[in-house]
């Protein structure tokens, strides 16, 4: 197999930018983001879609980037990664709250957790504890027992509502 023979250019709409990188048909979205575009915030924990550390949001829905093909997103929907959540360097209330509660211990699952929670708050600004647990059920965390993560999402939801708009888009 000559790995290079099938290399093509993939154009991705990431965090509001149109970015290009070289991929093969088998390159995953996670590989394109991490190694093609240098967006290393999304993590590879299992490479099989089991752990959720690679979660990004495409068109408002959480997506497992490690089992998605990059070319499926060529000229496709808007993708948001952990790097695209802060507002010009100002942490998003979710990022702030996860820091405050110490909901990020080792931090490796955090980008995926945060993206799942971000997608949740976009569609449900006032989520119950159960809704939060359900929304995060595809993201494994091995450090926290999830309690401080739940608290952070609840705290961020309150702050976002207080901020008035109720919208969590950038």
């Amino acid at each position: 197999m000559n790995v290079d023979s099938a290399t093509v250019v993939c154009r991705l709409n990431v965090n509001g930018d149109r970015r290009e990188c070289a991929v093969t048909p088998s390159t995953t979205l996670l590989e394109a983001l991490r190694y093609g575009l240098g967006l290393t915030g999304s993590k590879q924990g299992c490479d099989k879609g089991d752990c959720g550390a690679c979660t990004v949001v495409a068109d408002g829905e959480p997506v497992l980037a490690c089992i998605s093909l990059a070319l499926a997103y060529h000229d496709g929907p808007a993708i948001t990664t952990i790097e695209g959540v802060a507002d010009r360097g100002r942490p998003h209330p979710l990022q702030d709250a996860l820091d405050e509660t110490q909901g990020a211990q080792c931090g490796f699952c955090t980008p995926g957790i945060l993206m799942s929670a971000w997608a949740l708050l976009q569609r449900a600004p006032e989520p119950s504890r159960e809704e939060i647990a359900r929304a995060l059920s595809g993201n494994l965390c091995r450090c926290t027992g999830y309690t401080k993560i739940f608290e952070a999402v609840e705290r961020a939801a309150v702050r976002l509502r207080e901020r008035g708009s109720g919208s969590v888009t950038r």
Binding site: C46, V85, Q95, D99, Q102, C106, R134, R142, G145
Partner: protein
């Protein structure tokens, strides 16, 4: 001691530490009090210093590092559980364009191992593969895909040997030797220690309970797989970035295996994505990446797949335990006798320590007049077990706390009352000679009893629901380094500069538990800075003084003490500068919230901390200090008596409430009340995080997790991992966790930094037996083997007498159990 102990003999050229011990500075004011009357940083709900880097995706982990010209490498792994390697032909792989090098065991002949007396591993197996997944060759190529293609072209000729996959098999077939390091058969280590008159104590008991317990093995499963990048530069200097939790030990073993002097090697630990003991020794990837970089002259990265993480393992040892425990009619312990068999997997790892810990760490928080344990670790053809959170003592604690529950019922005592009758108290000594200083265990029992409303629930909830209690203790660091030496166990260098900033340099390893923030917190408290004014440089062997790393729950106590000393030295200098200026005594100078002032006239005599640093620098020169920690000589006066000796012990009690479905056997944990004596909570949010994370991990082992292996079948030999993926190896999701109620108990340890002790591992221990005891309360069945899965619960429910036992236990309470 038995003759099997011989292989612990000290190798030539090494000596055990002498009696001499470095003495860290003595501070008249003691270590527990706040530096200025009240705490300004300690005990507050602070953020972690690296928290935002993690929540914004900016933290750099090993796999986020990419160097110019970097190659990727992968390891070819054995498909047999036990096989002699006849030959390896890599010529076809090397001929593939883009493949740069292939190495085998011949390229890395030197053995290594975390314990100096049991160095029985090779980075790549040379003679024999000892488990399915044992590494035998490494390929460096332009991409991971190419590495995989090349590995398919490597021809390995195996001679398959009989595989040993269990404890009994290992003992019954000494002729099928798994590991040639074993002096006798498949015995990895044997320890027999006895204290007091065990047989006499048992004979004089009113009740003796005898029980068999099985603890299934489990693995750490950090979400970050092991990863490292190695760069051997043209000057002959090697830099290794690794997801390790013991940079110092890795540094030493890299030198040994690669034949390089340590001063030509730099180990850097980037941000680590979880470890739990699973990254506390060197692994094949670090040696192979380094060697391949030396061979190719280019940087090399190795990232383990999730499957490989299961083979790297070093997780919880499966243990088979037999206990005899006696009490008087009043519920006082008389004697404890334990026989333990430990399944170690293919190599020694920390096994020597594990074997001791399986007995040595049981002797508190309950006073035992007599105690004996006989522990045997065996080699088997499976991935090597090692230290997982609560190393060696979680398994016996499970068995023993279940024993106590049975004894309480036998003498008609409330199980909390039974535990209270056996308290050993503060400033006491265990039967095996361990010194106990602070001890908040009675308060832990009180706290969980009250918070859980125990008296309303125990033996009073309807069928299917129940509560259970268990207690435990754990070490705050061990009193010896893994390799004998007389140097400090922890060290800190501290630098202040005229910008009003402090930089702490320390070899400590932050694996998510917050050791970087611990260092910053102590410096801020002593010098009046805010957490944003402190930079921590950690775990970089070129830049930081040695710390032994994150294991044995040593960081808060040992590194914290070293940091406290470094910071206090500078605070004294600053106070000595300001006191004459303000006409006050040095102890009347306070530094807090970025302000230096005199307590006599704080409004008049005050300045910024930055100005105070500058005046001090003008008086004494450049501001820097060092601090170190060395534990006092501790432990019993017998061989192995120092193993398990710690300068301070933490204590924990759990109450678990469950709801069980007798139709399906499903056990659902509703709430866990966790009371943990951490001495002083330097950062309460971090302590709670450790308590919740520990309880979560313990419950996961109790209910879901099994690191198990298949027997031989038509299409495969024995020893295949049952399911090396995060789908098959089930760790709890956000939908599987109960409510955790964290109750921090502060006993103020006289020797801990501000009185602090450990919180990272202790709180795991009681979760498993407390759950087993709760299931008994709910259903009348004794879960003496892990995991408490629906099939096992159903099997126990179908045994005759389960319902009758449940009824009987309840009637005992109606008749009045003694509290």
């Amino acid at each position: 001691m038995s003759s099997r102990d011989r292989h612990m003999e000290i190798p030539q050229g090494r000596e055990m530490p002498s009696e001499r011990r470095l003495e860290p500075p003595h501070w008249e004011e003691g270590r527990t009090a706040p530096p200025h009357g009240t705490f300004s940083v300690i005990g507050k709900r602070n953020r972690k210093i690296e928290g935002l880097a993690k929540t914004t995706g900016q933290a750099i982990y090993a796999d986020d590092i990419r160097l110019p010209r970097m190659l990727h490498a992968k390891l070819l792994r054995s498909i047999h559980a036990h096989a002699r390697i006849r030959s390896i032909d890599a010529s076809a792989a090397l001929a593939l364009p883009g493949v740069h090098a292939v190495i085998t065991g011949r390229d890395l002949p030197e053995t290594y191992g975390i314990i100096p007396w049991t160095q029985d591993e090779q980075a790549l197996c040379e003679e024999k593969a000892r488990y399915v997944g044992d590494a035998i060759a490494a390929v460096a190529a332009d991409s991971e895909l190419l590495c995989e293609e090349a590995m398919r072209l490597i021809r390995v000729e195996y001679e398959v040997l009989p595989a040993i996959t269990g404890i009994d098999e290992a003992l019954a077939h000494p002729e099928n030797k798994v590991n040639e390091h074993a002096k006798e058969g498949n015995i990895s280590k044997h320890v027999h220690l006895a204290f007091g008159d065990v047989e006499g104590g048992l004979a004089a008991s009113d009740v003796v309970v005898e029980g068999d317990y099985w603890y299934e093995g489990s693995t750490h499963t950090p979400i970050e797989p092991h990863c490292c990048v190695a760069d051997f530069d043209p000057t002959g200097f090697l830099t290794v970035w690794s997801s390790t939790q013991v940079a110092h030990y890795l540094h030493r073993d890299l030198a040994r295996v690669l034949g390089l002097p340590t001063q030509r090697i730099r180990v850097i630990q980037p941000v680590v994505g979880g470890a739990f003991g699973g990254k506390s020794e060197p692994f094949s990837l670090e040696f192979c990446a380094a060697k391949l970089s030396m061979v190719t002259g280019r940087p090399v990265k190795i990232l383990y797949t999730r499957e490989e993480v299961f083979y790297a393992h070093r997780g919880r040892h499966p243990m088979r335990m037999h206990y005899r425990t006696g009490v008087t009619g009043e519920g006082k312990l008389t004697a404890v006798d334990a026989t333990i068999h430990i399944d170690g997997g293919a190599y020694s790892s920390f096994g020597l320590v594990t074997t001791y810990y399986s007995g040595q760490l049981l002797t508190a928080p309950y006073a035992m007049p007599a105690y004996r344990f006989d522990s045997t670790r065996v080699f088997t053809n499976k991935p090597c077990c090692g230290p997982k959170r609560g190393h060696g003592s979680v398994q016996p604690r499970f068995a023993f706390e279940c024993q106590l529950d049975k004894l309480a019922e036998a003498v008609a005592l409330d199980p909390i009352a039974l535990r209270r009758r056996n308290l050993m108290g503060a400033d006491s000594r265990t039967v095996n000679g361990m010194r106990v200083t602070s001890n908040g265990f009675p308060q832990c029992l009180d706290a969980v009893e009250r918070a859980s409303r125990w008296r309303e629930k125990f033996r009073r909830l309807p069928y299917g629901r129940g509560v259970g209690i268990a207690g435990s203790m754990y070490i705050s660091g061990t009193n010896y380094c893994i390799y004998p030496n007389e140097m400090p166990q922890a060290a800190v260098q501290l630098k202040l500069d005229r910008s009003g900033r402090a930089t702490v340099f320390c070899g400590a390893s932050d694996i998510g538990q917050g050791s970087d923030s611990l260092l910053a917190t102590i410096v801020c408290e002593e010098l009046g800075l805010g957490l944003r004014d402190v930079r921590v440089v950690a775990a970089d062997t070129d830049l930081t003084p040695v710390d032994l790393g994150s294991y044995s729950s040593r960081e808060t106590f040992m590194v914290g003490n070293a940091c406290l000393d470094a910071a206090r030295t500078l605070r004294r200098e600053i106070a000595a500068t300001l006191a004459p200026r303000w006409g006050c005594r040095p102890d009347q100078v306070t530094l807090a919230d970025n302000v230096a002032c005199s307590t006599l006239a704080p409004d008049r005599d005050c300045m910024s901390v930055q100005e105070a640093f500058q005046l001090t620098e003008a008086r004494v020169g450049t501001l820097g200090s060092v601090g170190w920690y060395q534990s006092p000589k501790l432990g019993g006066d017998y061989r192995g008596g120092t193993i398990g000796a710690s300068p301070a012990y933490s204590f924990t009690a759990h109450v678990v409430e469950v709801e069980c479905d007798p139709e399906t056997g499903l056990v659902e944990v509703k709430t866990v009340w966790i009371a943990h004596d951490c001495g002083r909570a330097l950062s309460p949010a971090a302590v709670e995080g450790q308590m919740e994370g520990s309880a979560y991990m313990g419950l996961a082992e109790a209910l879901l997790e099994e690191q198990i292996f298949k027997a031989a079948a038509p299409h495969h030999g024995p020893g295949l991992h049952h399911g090396p993926s995060l789908l098959d190896y089930r760790i709890p999701t956000s939908l599987d966790v109960p409510e955790f109620v964290s109750l921090i108990i502060e006993s103020l340890d006289p020797e801990g930094p501000y009185g602090a002790k450990e919180a990272g591992e202790g709180p795991l221990h009681p979760s498993i037996p407390a759950l087993a005891n709760a299931i008994y309360d709910a259903l009348g069945i004794r879960c003496d083997a892990l995991p408490f899965s629906p099939p096992r619960v159903l099997r126990l429910l179908r045994e005759p007498g389960a319902r009758a036992r449940w009824e009987k236990a309840r009637s005992q309470v109606r008749e009045g159990v003694r509290c």
